[in-house]
Amino acid sequence: MPSASLVFQSVVLGVLLGGLYALLAAGLTLYFGVMRVVMIAHSAFLILAAYLAWYAHRETGIDPLLTLVVTVPLFFAAGVAMQRLLLTRLRPATLTMMSVLLTFSVALTIEGLLGYAFSGTQRRIRLGYSSAGFEFLGARIAAVKLIAFGMAALALLGLYVLMKHSRFGQALRATIQHREAAQLLGIDTDRIAGYGFGLGLATAAVGGTALALDTTIYPSLHWHWIGPLMAIIVVGGLGSVPGAAIAAMTLGMLQSLLQLELSTTWAQTVFYVALFATLAFRPQGFFGGRLAQRF
């Protein structure tokens, strides 16, 4: 039986991990909500952002967090461009299915270019505070993990405020809920969808930078992330940002706690067990709305 302090330490690690998962999954569920697009390349963009942070840090020595000033707008623009130039060309009838293929190819392209530019060598940002931490009620919290969690929390809060309290957010939610009705109300749903996609990709910039703070990165790392993230958004209910966040926290915590009793290999399967259980007993997800029921 693990000691109480170890359990508490694992809970702390689980919360920190879940926060990062929540941010990474939020973008993914947004694409689906706005556009019914399954964005396989989301995690490839995460790794791209992580590489940009690493590269900027290596070349100029600036703190990787500062790269967000560039990468967030850049990724937003890339998202809008990708939606307007590529995804709108897919036939609406087969959009969801074909988007898997299209974004899969985008993911492969990004991975290939990263490998070409930076080779397959594993990279890590060297930070003065990478192993710093502090005591919290007997548990130890690493500074970088807390920063990553803070970034995730801020980005999610920003997303929430934007969605709930701005005209753009209202339009975006209207587009998610019922596209035709939104059009009847005079919302330019194509433009909104483009911005929504950009917003999703902007979260990838934040998530990737957070990721780069505390892990080694390599071009094919994104395959490791996309599976758990897909599972999270299905469990949370496709298209539901709060659902994705809650599912991410829950599964991140479960993974962390399961590692106490099971091996790391088995603890990772929690995402897929949750995915199977959700599809078998509650295909619309646990927190999602009506949207997911149609699929």
Binding site: P2, S3, S5, L6, Q9, S10, L13, L16, L17, S119, G120, T121, Q122, R123, R124, R126, L127, G128, S130, S131, A132, G133, R140, A142, V144, K145, D214, T215, T216, Y218, L221, H224, S256, Q259, L260, S263, T264, T265, A267, Q268
Partner: protein, 408 residues
């Protein structure tokens, strides 16, 4: 998978025998001794895919060996020529590559590929054809458990023996200084696990308790939970059966939890050139086994380091050195047996010679047991004053082992 592959090998071997018999009946002249006189050596390497980085290192080592040999006039007065195929790190591909090299291209000799996962299937092909199979990178126990008779591993020691010098050192410490409990974390990989479990077995036999024994999949990047378990156990010593990124991530995760062991040993990662930078120079006291160092003063090593550096613009690492060693081992056998061809008599002469003799290489003198396991041990290095230095064995050491290790 295995029975199928073995069957394929048999069928292919059968086909080859038929083909040879047919050509023998026709009385056709052997193509290899008429057209050109070079010794062709067939290799399949993972030049793309998962093992592409080390695979390219092995390729450079082989190329350096061929160049150095040819610059001196070749082997038995004949030039050596490498025929290298890319197996894409794929175990099925590596089998068909070696079948092609031996069967269709009729190479005179073969060298092994990189890493256990590719060495085992390709060694089986070489075995079916009766070819000598010297390999630079299959150190896991399963390589030697297959009953291969033609296989030789061209490095100082198999994975489980990497820490032998360290185990001896620890068990010889006075009881008060000896670590009492050890935490092990190993990647789910035959080589990485082999290193950690070799040490574990010896320390457990010596009465040192195992308090954590974790295995993680190769793609793990989050080591928070494993580190939490190790830190909670307060083990005196931590041993990582690591490759590269996992070792780095685990060390940083342990440092984040402010875990301060008296001894810390990790395989592979600490010997990589990027290591110190990756963990922000908090390397003090970390131990690692190594099979090769550019500084070793074996006569052929000086030549290798100098000529390799001239050819490639940087000094060779362990993968390059083990590939070069493979070349040296095969060359020694070829010169002693005075032949280099697929002829079964020649190949068995090569195998028999290696079975009974010692070869001088860039990693020191090597000899093998009847399963092809090299009989030396790895040196142990330690990070001292920001530099990795040899601390064990006594005869080769550059510095004294620091124990207990300073805080990291």
């Amino acid at each position: 998978m295995r029975p199928t592959r073995r069957l394929q090998g048999r069928i292919a071997a059968g086909t080859l025998t038929l083909a040879l018999a047919a050509s023998g009946c026709a009385g056709g002249s052997g193509s290899e001794d008429s057209s050109d006189d070079s010794i062709v050596i067939g290799v399949s390497l993972p030049l793309t895919g998962d093992f592409s980085e080390p695979g390219k290192g092995v390729e450079r080592g082989y190329k350096a060996w061929a160049k150095i040999v040819n610059d001196k006039g070749g082997l038995l007065g004949r030039k050596v020529e490498l025929k290298i195929l890319d197996d894409q790190s794929n175990a099925d591909r590596v089998v068909s590559d070696y079948e092609q090299l031996i069967g269709r291209d009729e190479v005179d000799l073969v060298f092994g590929p990189f890493s256990t996962r590719l060495v085992v299937p390709s060694a089986r092909v070489a075995e079916e054809y009766g070819m000598l199979f010297v390999e630079p990178a299959g150190a896991a126990p399963e390589v030697f458990d297959q009953g291969f008779k033609n296989l030789f591993y061209a490095a100082p020691a198999v994975a489980n023996d990497h820490y032998n010098h360290l185990a001896d050192y620890i068990l010889a410490l006075p009881a008060g200084e000896r670590p009492k409990s050890v935490a092990y974390a190993a990647m789910d990989d035959p080589f990485a696990q082999g290193t950690a479990y070799g040490l574990k077995e010896k320390l457990e036999k010596g009465g040192i308790k195992t308090v954590v024994d974790e295995v993680y999949p190769p793609n793990t990047t989050d080591f928070g939970s494993i580190a939490a378990k190790i830190a909670d156990s307060k083990a005196d010593m931590v041993v990582g059966g690591s490759q590269y990124q996992d070792g780095v991530n685990l060390i940083v995760a342990l440092q984040q939890l402010n875990y301060q062991p008296k001894m810390a040993a990790f395989s592979t990662a600490p010997t990589e050139p990027e290591f110190a930078k990756a963990i922000g120079n908090k390397t003090e006291g970390i131990l690692a086994p190594t099979g090769y160092t550019q500084k070793a003063d074996y006569p052929s090593n000086k030549e290798f380091v100098e000529k390799y550096t001239k050819q490639f613009g940087k000094a060779p690492e362990e993968d390059e050195a083990n590939a070069y060693t493979t070349g040296q081992v095969v060359a020694a056998a070829v010169e002693a047996a005075d032949c280099a061809s697929q002829d079964p008599e020649c190949q068995s002469k090569l195998v028999d010679w290696l079975r009974g003799n010692e070869v001088e290489t860039v990693v020191g003198p090597l000899k093998w047991d009847d399963k092809g396991r090299p009989q030396s041990a790895h040196m142990i290095q330690q990070w001292i004053d920001g530099e990795i230095q040899i601390v064990l064995p006594e005869a080769q050491k550059e510095a004294d082992l620091v124990h207990p290790k300073p805080a990291w």
